[in-house]
Amino acid sequence: MSSQPEAPVAAAPAGEPPNPPGWRARLASPYGVMWLVVAMYLVKVTVKLSAGYLTNSPVFISDGYHNLSDILQAFAVMLVVFMARRPPSADYPLGKSNVEFCSSLVIGMGMLWLGWQFAVESGVGLLHQFPAVEQLVRDRLSFLPAHAPLRADAASYPWLIGIMAASGLVSAIVSRHQIAVGRRTGHASLVADGRETASDGRIELIAMAGVTGQFVFNAPWLEYPLALLVAGLVVRTGCELSAQAFRALLQHSLPQDVEGHIRAITMDVAGVDEIDSLKTFQVGQVAVCLLTVRTRLGAEKVAFVRLGVEQRLRDFLEQAGFISSEIHLNFRAATVDRRRIAFALSPSGGGLVVAPALESADHLAICDVEDGRIARARLYVKPDRPAAFLQDKLVGRLFLFTPPPEPPDRPQLLAAASGEPVIPIEQSTVLDPGLLPLEG
């Protein structure tokens, strides 16, 4: 398996040590982008917790602590990336890149929980606008949390709005970079963490909308319908990440359309008769394809069939979004249709021709036919009991050059002993025994 590609580094002139990568290259590397994420969350935690305790805002305080957990998550992602980048070994021939999907699974499940919590809090906030309905619902659902309104004065509102707006914007920018780097370098955990960062950004922008609603219109309820929408998006992203991680960890086949293309491309290569079996799965961002095909060609030609299948599948899988692929291609000989036939031969002009009748024949040619081609033929002097002889030789058909007119509609049957299978007699196309490789 090919190793994960690194960010490009400027080449140094011969004989000089290579230049260290610049800050752009560092930021485009998996570790660089995660350090950027850590820095972003450190600033956010400091600002949000300070603002939260100063204004006694539970929204800011809880979001600050949530961001603190995001820092721990960022370190976990770095650890996972480190493990995934370890080269394959004898014990792990395909590397350990699947560990990234463990991290994706945890992040996906976390987002499901976050989305659920956010939906419940938003629902409670919405209910709070209708006290009679709220009372009715709380009587039935006692586990609902208490509504926590934002407490702030006119002087602090602009600060809170500014902090949330800036925080949401930074999250959006950093998450896009994180996802782009994750996709380019093939790190699923980076992509998952980026999507989680993007969700955090949306939540921050919704919180900002709520604060703005309260400040400008004195209508804090504006926040809640928007928040329910965002909760739905967060849950959907969580479901996607979890499902993708499950599929990869349990080595689910590649998507059906990808497998369909793999089959079509394979069958498009000259020399491939049929596909015997196809198994596909994913290890990290590497597509693995176990393929067995049937061919009639010899070893020298099969080498080029292999080249064609492997190269074209690699090109396709790369286009399909996999960072690399492992193609394990096996060849089996094509199934050969084997049968045994016989020709009755009679002398003519010093040679042999296909006889018009079994009675006039003095030789029998027993031919092994493989896929319509006589692969082996052996000549016998016609025995006294030709029917029994042909049955002993497991001959399926006997060919004669019966003279015109045409034979009857139903094939004639060779007399055989009672209870034994009969041998149909066919009209030979050619009189020429050169068809049977018996000459010389």
């Binding site: 080029f304 050059f401 050619v430």
Partner: protein, 255 residues
């Protein structure tokens, strides 16, 4: 330049060919592709005291081939020997007849029977060197490409010129090959057949040709027999290695 004369016969050796069904299917598709209306079947007629059965044998062969290929019996002609210039579809090389074009189907049943991906067109590969033989190959390849709606792929491999550091293989081509490339491309443009040209420095000419054909989805390689090489002609090496059908133009064929 015109495509080969549509009356140029397409032929199959009825007796010697191995995969008779596949070979006949390939020949039938070639007839449609080139607009040829007759298929010649080489059959040895009975002689001596059986000579009177020759007509009966020919009738039966036409009947059987007609049933296999759905070619009308009136379009099937049995002949004792291939006519000069015939395009013979068979896996066994007719080395003793330099006046034939021998097309080895390699087990394929036609040029367009495999599914085509819409995104990338398949091609007919014409290797060229510094001689004029590729021009001859182009006449057949162009006719087949046009009839089968395939592209043309011109392939050239060259040795690196010692001391020339250029990475681009085209920089290492000799002037005659450059001229031939221009001539082939001009002709393909004039015939409105899409084409591409691959130039590389392959370690082995025959391997390079087959590799290019495999990687560029070629359905046929058209390669002329050398007029001067007695041993190790590239066309024979390509025949031995290629899983893709190969048409070898005999050195005495006038297309």
């Amino acid at each position: 330049m015109h495509p080969p004369d549509p009356r140029s016969p397409i032929a199959v050796d009825f007796v010697r060919t191995g995969d008779r069904v596949g070979t006949l299917a390939f020949a039938r598709e070639l007839m449609q592709c080139l607009g040829v209306d007759r298929l010649h079947l080489r059959v040895r007629p009975p002689a001596a005291d059986q000579a009177h059965l020759a007509a009966e044998q020919a009738r039966r062969i036409r009947r059987d081939v007609g049933a296999l290929t759905e070619i009308p019996e009136s379009c099937l002609v049995t002949v004792p020997e291939f006519p000069a210039g015939a395009l013979v579809v068979e896996n066994v090389r007719a080395r003793h007849r330099p006046d034939l074009v021998c097309l080895a189907p390699m087990g394929e049943r036609g040029l367009t029977v495999r599914a085509l991906e819409a995104a990338r067109a398949a091609s007919v590969l014409v290797p060229f060197g510094n001689g004029a033989s590729a021009w001859q190959a182009l006449r057949l390849a162009a006719a087949i490409a046009r009839g089968s709606r395939l592209e043309l792929l011109f392939y050239h491999t060259t040795w690196r010129i010692p001391g020339l550091a250029a990475e681009n293989p085209a920089a290492h081509m000799c002037p005659e090959a450059v001229a031939m490339q221009a001539r082939l491309e001009t002709q393909a443009t004039a015939l409105a057949i899409p084409f591409q040209t691959v130039i590389e420095c392959a370690a082995d000419v025959a391997v390079g040709i087959v590799r290019a054909a495999v990687l560029h989805r070629s359905r046929l390689i058209v390669v002329p027999q050398s007029h001067s090489v007695e041993v190790g002609d590239y066309c024979h090496q390509v025949l031995d290695k290629s899983p893709i059908p190969v048409a070898v133009i005999g050195k005495e064929v006038a297309l």
